[in-house]
Symmetry: D3
């Protein structure tokens, strides 16, 4: 599934991020790519060890952890510390798939990449090219969202960033291990939750069907969630 979520970061917050990123230290993106990805990755990446990186990561994770639509769609269990990428003219990231297991560097040790998320930090009219292009068994989709918007996609699908021909493309990248590993099951829960939210708005939380459907949702989570 591809789920795009508008405004996970406010334009103000995006502005602060960009100001910080403008002054930060950028490294060659190949340093963090695996052998295979390395040959197709031509971009820059924020120095993980640099001072602003830790702050930006926290500034990013806090609003995400409170964003109901994101939580409902991703059901996150673990999230890797976000990385920040910069694509200037000539940069690109050729077709690749994300590794299924990544080290977390923390007590968890390992994370299964169920979902990948890109948060756009540049407006689409600030650069040419640079579309996030996802190959799916339903065809190819090109994605360019507004600054502060997020796109969620299965880490197992092949994807690439087409060459930037003009301007600069800034984005943040997240890898997520979901409580519910299977995309199809997670989507069923998302649909069910959307219906419960809509019925609650219309009929109130005390409504018999809202209560019964919530019970179904909770017990499907118990059936499927690994935490």
């Amino acid at each position: 599934m591809l789920i795009s979520i508008d405004s996970v970061l406010s334009k103000d917050l995006v502005g602060q991020f960009r100001e910080t990123l403008r002054q930060a230290r950028w490294l060659n993106g190949k340093r963090t790519a695996g052998t295979q990805a390395s040959s197709v990755k031509v971009n820059q990446q924020l120095d993980d060890q640099s001072k602003p990186a830790a702050g930006l990561r926290q500034q990013l994770l806090t609003p995400l952890g409170q964003h109901q639509l994101f939580l409902s769609a991703a059901l996150p269990h673990k999230i890797l510390p976000p990385t920040f990428s910069r694509y200037c003219a000539g940069h690109r990231y050729g077709a690749h798939r994300d590794n299924p297991i990544m080290p977390t560097g923390g007590a968890d040790r390992m994370l299964r990449t169920d979902l990948s998320a890109t948060i756009f930090l540049s407006e689409p009219d600030e650069y040419d090219g640079g579309a996030l292009t996802i190959e799916t068994t339903y065809g190819t989709r090109e994605i360019k969202l507004g600054a502060g918007d997020l796109i969620l996609y299965p880490s197992g699908s092949q994807h690439r960033v087409t060459p930037v021909t003009h301007g600069t493309r800034l984005c943040a990248l997240l890898w997520i291990q979901s409580m519910v590993r299977d995309n199809h099951q997670r989507l069923l829960l998302f649909d069910l939750d959307q219906s419960i939210q809509a019925l609650t708005r219309k009929q109130g939380g005390e409504d018999t069907e809202v209560q019964r459907l919530t019970g179904v949702y909770h017990n499907l989570v118990r059936l499927w969630a690994e935490v």
Copy 2:
């Protein structure tokens, strides 16, 4: 789960059944019990090979196959030809569990007993004792329903019929292999379907949430059903 469903047979139809059964040939119930059940089974059973048996079976299965609540609760895939039992004073069926796999005598060859159902053909005030008693991990339940009513229970739970001390207790027995083998999953589907039915009555079948929840229901069936 225990699900009781009222009036799966009309009182009229029950009357016809009883009239036919009154004139039929009854055999010692031990003839159809396995070694273990045989020692605890003291009742009578309609001769399977007798002429009325085939007719009664069909008369029973036809209304069941059109009973929405039964279909929604049991999601039947295969049903063994029903058997008919008679408990007179002194009869009983001691504690036993139904075999997990039974021969069907048909092209299917085998049936997994996910669910058992008893349809009561006598009114509760026509006999003393004779309660269907089901032991569950939630405690013991004694069940005596009206003529024409049905109780659905997991075949894996231990159950018995307490001694009849007076009068006659007639009933029909069914073993069902459900499309959805797991009791917990089947119950979640039942709850979801009940909500969809209630919302449809209130808001119509074209309602957005009815449509979305129907999609969730259909895809859970695809995920779980074995046919």
Copy 3:
């Protein structure tokens, strides 16, 4: 997944089908639609009971059952007798989902609709509109293939046929229960099989890796197939 397979029927065979269909008896498509689908279905359907229907079905199933790419992609366990539809100007089929369980009318009794397939019997330039439109979590896809081509899609996805504004659109429809119910698992098998075929063409069937990968494929089938 959407998998389109070219030329499952030869142009010659398509010609014969069309000639037969031209003279056949067509009924209002609502007759075979469920309550919900009925309100959105405006087309014609070949009379199932008519003489040509049985012949056409067999003529369709025989080449399909020998088509390696179709077999590898669908891993069919049961296929419903195909139906034939005709869309003249003004006809359409609004958004709907296929029922998850359908009666087969045969010894199997029931079929789980894992996959739907449309075989186009008209060339795309013979009609305007009439696109098969599939809504997926990856976006919307409009499909119009050549006569004799087939598109395979999950029955659980919402789909519709846009109004035909000019000309006639003929097609055959199939519902398939796959040996491998899960779309994701079936796709993994399809990819693995495609690699094995490609390596066999290049290195021969006796090649060590061809043999080892075939063992992996066979054992994944054993792990996942329900027959």
Copy 4:
């Protein structure tokens, strides 16, 4: 399943708990309830941050962690720090279900509530009303155990505490993520373990069948346990 386990705390230990709790600081129970539960929760809860809370929790978890019957029935993987509740006259907790995922406040971050446990700290004759009432698909069960006794029930079942009309009801509450998530599988393991214990007492641990059944138990745990 409902499994009641006598005397997980000795009467002496219960006496110490009550003495400590008598002097402790109690807060309004609504403070820790979610939005939905808040409207139906009328009781008091021990201040989590207060000094005695930490000590009591450890005093509770230590004997539980050594209680063979509890371990065999719950197969605990994670246990939330216990909470302590007090119901005085007029207090009650209306019908609710426990959330499927709860934050742990520890390195684990999240816990799936497979099982809930109530440990009674008041004798049943010290208060009127205040029955723990669990709605199951097998009917409703009212539970009032002796001080020091524990009842284990699936967190997914709806439950409530009926109004206390006289006296004071003290209890401790636990939420447990089991190594074996599925209630049915966990119960099968519990039954198998009970048989192995009984056979070991009778025939010794070196008995061939005790050894073989232990092998079956161990390999079922390997098949089902998530740790």
Copy 5:
């Protein structure tokens, strides 16, 4: 797993089989092998269409269907009509794996080969070579059993028959779809059943632990069996 079962056919019955087979019509074994197996199969096979074949098959399946140890180990759901092979001097069957799905020629249409079985119809001292050799992840096993004995092995393991250098090797071959597809689960059930049988012999069928373990066995079958 490899499970050898002695005397599924009595020596008398083996004698009758051999007499019938001696006079029967034998075909080149390549006729029934797939493309890959064909190149490594050098033996003879009983003409399936010949008159004795049908009789022998039934004579074989009847005792098997009543053999408790075979039923407990294989939990057969479907069995392909047995084939009979003859290896004379110089014959062999090179390394191969059995296809995971085979056509049944009956109403079932397809069978998943979970288990293969060889029933030896010659005594080991009647021929040199001709060992059934099974490659497993636990090493290689060479099997030569007495006439009337059976060996059961997973169809997914690579196996071969080493060249016969002297004498004649007769055997019957079966492919079985088990009610329980997973070898590991089926073995756990086999172990549990063996313990129940042993305890029943020692303590009787009414023993509490025999009853409880039977309940566990039955419910594991319900959990795992596909029929």
Copy 6:
């Protein structure tokens, strides 16, 4: 499965281990055995609390964590701190199975023993007897490898060390929770990975089939891995 891996430790490193172990403090092996194992365990074990133990463990885990074949075969998620055993003349370890769940002593708290590994630290000609003997459903295997070699076997299989009659047998023992719990699934991944490695060596990492098969491997890991 049994997978033996040569030279996970170099002969040099083995020499250092032996020198350190020669001077270390050894305890009676019964101290760390469970009740059942205790009665059959007659050997010595390195004092876990002793100074050299921590160093040796790290020296062992570092090369293991970089050994591609070991990683591919075991897909380790958690590894218990290795223990070191010494068998002198007369020592043995009778038949036993490893516990399915073991405490880790770390933040993880518990580990499921999917796999056991023995690393031999003595050459086979340095001692008589002392074979690691594994009972499998495929028969019994006796294993004696060179110093520095490792054997990987399912913890659920019964195993023993036959009595040492002469000389000294040193070894290290590991218990592993794999990312992929099921032995059969893990073996399929191992086979697939071996093919991918072989094709990469022959055709390079950019080869179409290498890329496609890598995608299949990655998505099977996502389907099966628990981390």
